[in-house]
Amino acid sequence: MSMTATAGRAHADPHHIGVVVEHPGPASKRIVTAYGFWVFLLSDIVMFSCFFAAYAVLHGQTAGGPSGAEIFEQRNVAIETVCLLLSSFTCGMASIAADVRNRFWFYLGMTVTCVLGLIFLAIEFREFADLIARGYGPTRSAFLSSFFSLVGCHGLHVSAGVLWLLTMMAQVFAKGFRADVLRRMMCFALFWHALDIIWVGVFSVVYLLGSAA
């Protein structure tokens, strides 16, 4: 009788409003790990926000050098964007495969993610090398300094992500889908998706706004 009453009330009050809910105790390791990593990602986003702020302040300071509209190539940026978006998708597929412990789809998803990430890095590297070769390196003007730092910082994160991805694959190969490996996989997926979110900010603010203005 009392059980049905409780169940009924819980149903009518799904958010437990007006009920003092006793804290159930320490959370499981999976939740603790992912939450800690989530907090780290937020701090990483704050760090990026400083580079965004610096770019916003300095983007007009070309010191006689080129402006954004003169050096950005939208076609390259579009390819980079699609690469990262697709890699986010394949990374999601790989993490689903890891959850259901399917090695084939896990390796496939991670490999495609890795290849897409490398393509992204290659395009970015070529863009940077090309700019430096034309004399438009980061030392040319404050605008270029902030541009190279912001985009380069994202690129460094992607590189670190690729390194992590390869380590992850090696670990699954050596250890299988252990609980701690799965937790790390969850963190990696969060990291990779967050990089994509930052890239949305980069291509919108730097490349699209920069060439529109």
């Binding site: 003092v20 006793e22 804290h23 780290f40 040319r140």
Partner: protein
């Protein structure tokens, strides 16, 4: 092969740093030799260096802070003496050396004294107060500590190898740029802060996650002890503010190493952006330090008044309000640098607003004491001394929050007096209060009260005699960081200040004596009950020192002041419980990851400072390999069998029952 490093880096022509460095080196070697000869090395390695126990890591943080306090304190004494003698003369410190001293003093006191001290106390106490067995990420905790130690090490290496920054503790460009500071001083500064900053960030993430995700049963948010709330707020600020410091210093380093133009005067760089960004970190940093101190005072005042904290909910609200508003005031550090009246006015008002929640806290502590049965033990003395001192610091703070007043007082000795007033009177007094209060919990014996009280009175008096004259000197127009001066009116105040410094030093000596005397008399001072102060929160519910697993059972919390509540209930009910059923406990295994990682970070930092590129790569690879090895290990936990848990817990229970029954008899 060795980059910029050669024999000219060792300052053979400067006796003071060389002698100081020599003495420290000899002392370290002597300690090392003693440790090895006595055979303590395995103990140190197994029980401390590789430990992932939050209590041990907390103690090591506090030890680091105490040693660095002596280093930063020596700098302070040297500066006070210099300003007392350098009237119409050069004094005894040449300018380039004096500039290094005040830069090192600020850097060390903030990053390697105040930060590790409060982080150490949080590490030590918060899991105990939450009623859990460990922090969220035990191994990362160790990594964070050792990276902080790396930063401290690099700053101190600069004493002997090369030089430290001459730019002040925030290294403003263009002075800190390559054209005006071509030496390695700024690089030492920036890399040691980058490395220790990573350590601080790790500690912040760890403690935020611990408070939000690891609480014992029934420990709802509004039942957490005040110290846990301030820990949460402070670490949220760490997580949000330290990335700003990292980014800003990264930009400065890019300017210096690769010729970027963020903060240069050429090619469109903007020096003002450095002030803006560094203070966007710098102001929250102040609250990162002082919020945990507020938490400590809340615990101490409520315990030693024998009352629950007055206005608990308003205190929580005030803490979280400070947490948010502290991100909206940073411009008040550079009112004078050319912003318009609208900007200055808004940040001025925000700076005054943030004084309100702080005032709420002061009233809450006063009302907690009101009508309480107050015991003036040493922690309580520090707390009352804090209230008296901090109010003056807070009021002068509101004064400089008014832009027109700030235009008069900016960069004067008045400002120096103000921030020492809040940091010593707030953070340091808080750290000492926490140290005295929780020392019995960490080591199982109380500290000597006589020496403790002497330390308090000397420090308190010394503080006032040192810093009140600086307010006056500032009013008389004396600016900060003067190596010598010619104004006769300032001289008397500088002499009073140096006398105050002497009194303050006696306070420090008393503190050391207190430790020595207490360790000698530790049997007499032994705390057998685990509850030496008649405490109110869960850290007192376990033995002193706590077993490695903290609690045999996760305590069940039913209200605020969880342990007080338990004691009251235990007195009402019968004390005769049947023996509970113990279970195996899994604890994280020790790991050298933190130490090894910091070893490579030290190599990498040193190599970056001296442009030894092959060594940079070596250090980076080493650090990565360390993490891979850590990720590859198969057993990350060990089991403490139920019988062992039972044996340890029963001893504690016996002591506690006898205590409660004695109290009941009275």
């Amino acid at each position: 092969m060795l980059g910029k490093l050669d024999w000219s880096a060792i300052p053979f022509d400067q006796p003071i740093p060389l002698a100081a460095g020599g003495v420290v080196l000899v002392a370290i070697l002597a300690v090392l030799i003693w440790v090895v000869v006595k055979g303590h090395l395995p103990y140190l390695w197994d029980e401390w260096i590789t430990s992932v126990d939050h209590k041990r890591i907390g103690v090591m943080y506090i030890l680091l802070a105490s040693v660095m306090l002596l280093r930063g304190g020596s700098d302070a004494i040297m500066m006070r003496i210099q300003q007392a003698v350098a009237f119409q003369s050069q004094g005894y410190l040449p300018p380039e050396h004096y500039n290094q001293i005040f830069s090192a003093h600020g850097t060390i006191m903030i990053f390697f004294v105040a930060m590790p001290f409060v982080i150490g106390l949080m590490n030590l106490i918060v899991p105990l107060q939450l009623g859990v067995r460990d922090v969220a990420f035990p191994t990362l905790n160790s990594v964070g500590f050792w990276l902080t130690a790396t930063g401290a090490l690099l700053v101190n290496v600069s004493l002997v190898v090369g030089e430290f920054a001459r730019t002040g503790w925030l290294a403003f460009p263009p002075l800190s740029g390559l054209s005006y500071s071509p030496g390695v001083g700024v690089d030492y500064y920036a890399w040691s802060l980058q490395i220790s900053g990573v350590g601080t960030l790790v500690a912040g993430i760890n403690l935020v996650t611990t408070v939000l995700k690891l609480r014992t049963r029934g420990m709802n948010y509004l039942r957490m002890p005040m110290f846990c709330w301030t820990t949460l707020a402070s670490n949220l600020l760490i997580v949000a503010a330290f990335p700003i410091l990292t980014a800003t210093l990264a930009m400065l380093l890019l300017d210096r190493y690769l010729g970027f133009h963020f903060f240069t005067n050429e090619a469109g760089g903007n020096v003002m952006m450095f002030m803006n960004l560094i203070w966007a970190w710098g102001h929250p940093e102040v609250y990162i330090l002082v919020l945990p101190a507020f938490g400590i005072f809340s615990e101490v005042v409520s315990t030693f008044s024998g009352k629950a904290l007055f206005g608990y909910r308003s205190m929580v609200l005030a803490t979280m309000a400070i947490c948010v508003v502290s991100f909206m005031v940073w411009l008040h550090h550079f009112f004078t640098m050319g912003a318009g009246p609208n900007v200055n006015a808004i940040f001025g008002i925000a700076s005054m607003i943030i004084a309100i929640p702080t005032g709420v806290k002061i009233y809450n502590w006063l009302f907690t004491m009101y009508g309480g049965r107050i015991r003036f033990a040493t922690p309580m003395l520090w707390s009352v001394g804090f209230m008296v001192t901090f109010i003056i610091g807070g009021l002068t703070g509101v004064l400089v929050a008014v832009p027109p007043a700030d235009f008069m007082l900016h960069n004067s000795m008045f400002l120096v007096a103000h921030f020492h007033n809040v940091i010593i009177g707030g953070v340091l007094f808080g750290a000492f209060a926490g140290f005295e209060y929780w020392f019995p919990k960490a080591f199982g014996f109380r500290l000597d009260e006589r020496w403790g009280k002497a330390a308090f009175w000397f420090t308190f008096t010394g503080f006032w005699v040192t810093f009140m004259p600086l307010y006056i000197a500032g009013m008389l127009g004396m600016t900060r960081r003067l190596q010598h001066y010619d104004v006769a009116a300032w001289r008397p105040w500088m002499i009073v200040a140096v006398i105050g410094m002497a009194v303050l030093s006696i306070g420090v000596i008393c503190q050391i004596m207190q430790l020595v005397v207490s360790i000698r008399n530790r049997e007499a001072l032994r705390d057998r009950t685990g509850d030496p102060w008649d405490g109110r929160s869960l850290e007192w519910a376990t033995s002193s020192p706590p077993p490695v697993f903290n609690f045999a059972f996760h305590p069940d919390v039913r209200g605020e002041d969880a342990y007080w509540d338990m004691k009251v209930r235990a007195q009402q009910q019968s004390l005769e419980h049947e023996d509970p059923e113990y279970h195996d406990i899994e604890m994280p295994r020790n790991s050298p990851t933190g130490f090894v990682c910091a070893f490579f970070a030290t190599i990498m930092g040193f190599a970056l400072i001296w442009h030894i590129w092959w060594m940079v790569i070596l250090g980076g690879l080493g650090a990565f390999a360390t993490f891979v090895v850590f990720a590859w290990r198969d057993h990350d936990e060990y089991v403490i069998p139920a019988e062992e848990v039972a044996r340890i817990d029963r001893v504690n229970l016996e002591e506690r029952r006898s205590l409660v029954s004695m109290a009941g008899a009275i």
